[in-house]
Symmetry: C2
Subunit: 267 residues, 2 copies
Amino acid sequence: MEKIKKDHRPLILVTNDDGVQAKGLKALVEAVRPFGDVVVIAPDSGMSGMSHAITVTRPLYLTKVLEEEGLTIFKSSGTPSDCVKLALHEVLGDKPDYLVSGINHGTNSSISMHYSGTVAGAKEGTFNAIPSIAFSLLDHSADADFSHAVNYVRQVFELVLEHGMAEGVCYNVNMPKGEIKGLRVCRQAKGNWIEGFEKRYEPGTGKPYYWMTGSYVNLDTDAEDTDEWTLDHGYAALVPFTIDPTCMETVSRLKSLGVEDRLPVSN
Amino acid sequence: MEKIKKDHRPLILVTNDDGVQAKGLKALVEAVRPFGDVVVIAPDSGMSGMSHAITVTRPLYLTKVLEEEGLTIFKSSGTPSDCVKLALHEVLGDKPDYLVSGINHGTNSSISMHYSGTVAGAKEGTFNAIPSIAFSLLDHSADADFSHAVNYVRQVFELVLEHGMAEGVCYNVNMPKGEIKGLRVCRQAKGNWIEGFEKRYEPGTGKPYYWMTGSYVNLDTDAEDTDEWTLDHGYAALVPFTIDPTCMETVSRLKSLGVEDRLPVSN
């Protein structure tokens, strides 16, 4: 396979975690296509909740499904992160100028970003020094309405075209359903998922099994500078986040406690 | 199933990503058992590279495999993150006092922490306000020698017993092979994996497939305060990291650029 090289226009890599057939992926391609040549590499099936998983114990498959002027689409058996790695090392002859991931069917705000394959796809771009943005819409239905989101994605993309992105920083953009009142740059809300496993029994053997269910609990309800507050109030939320999550405050604290001197040579 | 309640001693939850049979898991149990009652819930097969994946499209299985004084072991069909969720909501009647994950067979330093199921298992504990630590040894062989590591894990655990851990902060501890010269508290090195996919062809169909290979590249070679430097010099590396990776510097920068005023209502 001949690798895809950059032509006159910016080269834009697109992935997602809902799979190559997802409506949100088509919306994202529609949004960014005016800005450059688009190459999509997306999972051939749903990869929601796959986080930054990579496939190391199985081989990966890669198939071209569409090729037209300014747009080439591949599907892969891998995760979003695998898709980006395949793109960079097997499909593209030049480093892409931008990476966009999504538009995810469903929220990836607050702590949910850690579970998201869509956000991980964007992170993988940031690992490779590519300006990368994850987009999600707060509607997880397969037939979600992306009509307001397309225009908004385009405007956020224009911001990045104009101002660039800092090295090691990725953007996580969540958009409310329907009309979007505006954009807020915010921090990730403190929150958690409270699981409620539904226990059932196999009809033949009586063996128990569990379906994970759960509901999100916002632990940051008083604050107005979070992504959750922003989305609750009808705005799109942009959370810039770093690839290096080291807590330097704790580094200093542990050093000042003298812990390094207290743990001697192992024996 | 009756839930396991806390007795007089601290309740310690243990998981990993190499699976319930892994030598590193046994080493970790040996290390922390003196400090409390231990409940292990680990994947029934290897989950390396599964990151923070959760199982939402399949049911989960959970089986008790051992019960003795001060130690109960379960295996689950899920990922490390699933295991922790099952522990908190189905197995334990009280919140555990501590969570330890590992000892991973192989490094989870620098950017590799993002791909690691072992680190994600610990993160899931931090999400639930449990002091949580991931441990890894720089030897990915199934028969790795954990004899130096056990004593070191014990000392790091004693630090946490004495000083506690800040809310929202998780510890990622990597240990070199063999003798350990001491402990250093450090930041995550900048680096990346450069993939080299090995392309092969199915014997019957001729269809191509790809095996992911790769090598780590340290992009932070001049610095002496990173986990990579520390490990290269024979020390164990403790990187404290935050669950909220928001880059507040970029939040301020984008706000000062006036981006919020420039993105109006969608239409």
